[in-house]
């Protein structure tokens, strides 16, 4: 295999890896939106999750503890978002932005008070799958990632299964399409939305952790830099289907990986343009795709029994 072959393989492998945080956050957001709640606070949940995981791992050396901490933080953030959107029936777009700013500020503050400098941890270990990882090409592409990468991809069929094959999936979709219908059959719309939004919070926080203790092994202020918002966009991109989110996440992170390599290799493309590429791509594809897919009919609408 020549140099370009190696580079291509590297781009593909890191594209697959980079999709991880988008998948966690995007799948969580998909569940929430299918039940009718638009959570724009994903970015804030990710930042706090990233920080909690990093801090606990850094202090205790126990990465599992770090992930649990992230999950707990995500749970609390998710519960708060659920309370605001379900009980207080707040305008979801605005309150989501509030949660984003809260997560951004708090993670920054805690970082400065508790850590102060950028340091690194060993983080989540790679899981080199014996046998499979030795396969030519496929081995490096698919079977030499850390555990959180596999976890993210496992979420996709899992979420598909829940949405399409289980009684809960029916309730989630009904709550998002016609909550009055669900309510009239004794399904608690509030409970369904609490469950999805809280789970979404946990997954977003884990997604943040997948960045801090999974991929990069460091924490930095605002390290997600818009990733959570992209995850929300990917839900629209994916037509509110887990597989669609997967495709979007892959496309986006492959282009991202590509532009990183363009910079690393010093190709004669201005770095700013390279960095822009994934975002421009997102906008273009969104414009094309979103016109076809139809959002859940009750998305972002608080439910009330008339």
């Amino acid at each position: 295999m020549g140099d370009w072959g190696h580079i291509l393989l590297g781009v593909l492998a890191s594209g697959i890896r980079l999709a991880t945080p988008y998948l966690y956050a995007g799948i969580g957001e998909t569940l929430g939106q299918r039940s009718g709640v638009l959570n724009l606070g994903v970015e804030g949940q990710m930042l706090l999750g990233a920080f909690a995981a990093f801090y606990v791992t850094y202090r205790t050396g126990n990465v599992l503890g770090g992930l649990l901490a992230a999950a707990l933080v995500g749970l609390l953030m998710g519960l708060a978002m659920a309370f605001v959107s379900v009980n207080l029936q707040a305008e979801q777009g605005i309150s989501g932005i509030g949660f984003y700013l809260f997560g951004l500020g708090l993670s920054d503050l805690l970082f400065q008070k508790l850590l102060g400098t950028v340091d690194s941890v060993r983080g989540v270990p790679d899981a080199v799958i014996p046998g499979l990882s030795d396969l030519p090409v496929l081995g490096e592409l698919l079977f030499r990632h850390n555990w959180m990468v596999y976890g993210a991809y496992a979420l996709v069929p899992l979420a598909w299964f829940v949405l399409n094959k289980t009684p809960w999936g029916l309730m989630i979709k009904a709550a998002g399409e016609n909550p009055h219908a669900a309510d009239s059959l004794g399904v608690s719309v509030a409970r369904v939305r609490y469950a999805t939004v809280t789970l979404g919070g946990v997954l977003s926080a884990i997604g943040g952790a997948s960045l801090s203790v999974g991929l990069l092994k460091i924490f930095q202020q605002n390290m997600t830099s818009g990733l959570g918002f992209i995850a929300v966009a990917l839900v629209y991109f994916g037509g509110w289907r887990p597989v669609g989110v997967l495709l979007g996440a892959l496309l986006f992170s492959l282009v991202n990986a590509l532009q990183l390599w363009v910079q690393v290799l010093g190709l004669p493309i201005p770095a700013d343009f390279a960095v822009m590429a994934p975002y421009v791509l997102t906008i273009v594809v969104l414009v094309i795709v979103v016109q076809r897919a139809r959002p859940p009919a009750a998305l972002a609408r608080p439910f009330e029994r008339e």
Binding site: T166, G169, M171, A174, E177, N178, A181, L185, V187, A297
Partner: protein, 514 residues
């Protein structure tokens, strides 16, 4: 095949006593007594806002009563949610269907039920049981069809099946006939008789007298939240029921003076148009309305009526064909130019398209003319002129509002419609397109709207009356056109039209010849 509810005992009797339910500003139910026993159809009759739905939502556990008690089979019960009512064998089909359109029939039925396969849905079993139930009660439906693909009549079947599937033996049907063609109403009545024959009971809510008289064993009339009385259907008649409903004598046929029709004022020629979804909604519609004539456009909702009204009003460009107003080709004209030429438009969605809800009554009156004298001069609104105009209209049209400054959203449905009528008719229109002008209005407001339309007809206006209410069309129209799937099936002189014949045309089954 067992459902989780197959053990639900049959409802032998339901008694509601002294039910009170207050909403901010209204007493929706004021010490209402109501009872149903096994094997009967008990109709709940009343004008819009009389409190029928509220009473039944209380029985179904959707609302909690402020006072009063409910007994099922002699035992007092409290229903904290519909689940409790379902467990007691009570099911409700709502006025507005409670279906998830993107899901299949079987999924809608299975929603909220535990699955026999635990974590995984058992839709095949549900489908099989649905087919069996459908056969039993004469309610055939494809369990795997998506709800949005079904006709309104089929959707109603799904609603009834949903309730039967849950083992209900008392079915509450809230205005089930409002959306059906006359033939579908007959089918529904057959199903109701079938259910009652099997020992079920039915609460049938309606404000249509002849339906109530033909299907029910007993009738309870509500007015303004209070119970007026309960009678056996065999022991009463239309006039008495109408008096109970409205609180005064009611004339069923509005006075219609003979008018000789003038020249054609509105002509639609071979119009094609698309729906919001992009599907063909009108395919070659031609229709002419003369001055001094009311042409009724009958049809089941969703067959192109809305699109036709919008094409005429200038709100939807036709893909083909022409629209002529007073002999002029206005196909390319914007809506305001058509209005200025003499077109009045009373839109179907009056809350959305007819008024701006947060605006005051006065502001809504001048929506069309706010930039013209006397309401505006040199670009400045003239409050005195607007106020004077508003007060005059409020008086003339007997609009119940605290004042011209009150936001329209605080008015009742009937009074909002009067605001629209007042604005449109005050401009002395020569052509009027009225889409579902009395939908949701009570008998009093309906009478008023009818009188206004007839007065315009007498004054020489050409009126296109689009309505799903056959009684309304038969009472007002000089000629009746029936629309089905974007085509005019036929145009009949009113004298030759009867509900049976119109119903067949509305269902698209027969093209009447000759």
């Amino acid at each position: 095949m067992a459902t989780p509810f197959s053990a639900t005992p049959k409802v032998q009797s339901v008694v509601m006593r002294g039910i009170v339910k207050r909403f901010p500003g209204v007493v929706a139910n004021d010490h209402v007594d109501f009872d149903v026993h096994q094997g009967e159809v008990h109709a709940l009759l009343g004008e819009n806002g009389a409190g029928k739905s509220t009473l039944m939502k209380i029985l179904y556990g959707l609302y909690q009563p402020d006072e009063g008690e409910i007994q099922v089979n002699g035992r007092p019960v409290t229903f904290a949610s519909p689940l409790d009512a379902i467990r007691c064998g009570i099911g409700m089909v709502h006025q507005h269907f409670m279906l998830v359109e993107t899901l299949t029939v079987a999924e809608n039925v299975a929603l909220g039920l535990p699955s026999s396969r635990g974590f995984v849905t058992d839709l095949e079993r549900v489908a099989a049981r649905l087919r069996a139930l459908g056969e039993q009660y004469g309610l055939p439906v494809d369990p795997h069809a998506r709800v949005w693909q079904l006709s309104v009549g089929q959707q109603q079947r799904v609603e009834i099946l949903k309730v039967l599937y849950r083992g209900a033996s008392l079915l509450i049907l809230d205005e089930p006939t409002a959306v059906l063609t006359p033939q579908e109403v007959e089918d529904l009545f057959r199903v109701i008789r079938q259910m009652v024959g099997r020992g079920h009971s039915v609460v049938f809510i309606s404000h249509k007298l002849h339906e109530v008289l033909s299907i029910s064993d007993r009738i309870t009339v509500l007015r303004d939240g209070r119970k007026v009385g309960t009678v056996r259907a065999a022991a009463t008649n239309k006039a008495e029921l109408a008096r109970w409903m409205v609180g005064r004598e009611v004339t069923f046929r509005p006075e219609k003076a003979p008018v000789t029709p003038g020249p054609v004022r509105l002509a639609v020629e071979d119009v094609h148009a698309r729906s919001d979804r992009g599907t063909p909604a009108l395919v070659g519609v031609s229709l002419a309305v003369r001055g001094g004539e009311i042409v009724g456009l009958a049809g089941v909702s969703g067959n192109g009526q809305r699109e036709l009204a919008e094409v005429i009003a200038g709100l939807r460009p036709p893909t083909q064909g022409r629209v002529r107003l007073l002999g002029r080709d206005v196909t390319a004209w914007p809506a305001d130019a058509r209005a200025d030429l003499g077109l009045a438009y009373i839109p179907e969605e009056r809350m959305r398209d007819g008024v701006i809800l947060p605006f005051s009554v006065a502001e809504n009156f001048i929506l069309r003319d706010h930039f013209k004298p006397p309401f505006a001069r040199r670009g400045i609104l003239q409050p005195q002129a607007i106020l004077a105009h508003s007060q005059a209209l409020i008086r003339a049209y007997q609009i119940k509002t605290p004042g011209p400054e009150t936001p329209v959203q605080h008015l009742s449905g009937g009074n909002i419609q009067k605001v629209v009528l007042a604005r449109e008719l005050a401009r002395a229109p020569q052509v009027i397109v009225a889409a579902q002008p009395t939908r949701g209005l009570d008998i009093g407001a309906t009478e008023y709207v009818h009188a206004q339309l007839l007065q315009q007809r007498a004054a020489g206006a050409a009126v296109l009356l689009i309505s799903e209410d056959l009684d309304e069309i038969l009472a007002l129209a000089d000629r009746i056109a029936v629309i089905y799937e974007g085509r005019i099936m036929d145009v009949l002189p009113a004298a030759e039209a009867d509900p049976q014949r119109l119903g067949l045309l509305m269902a698209g089954v027969a093209r009447a010849t000759g």
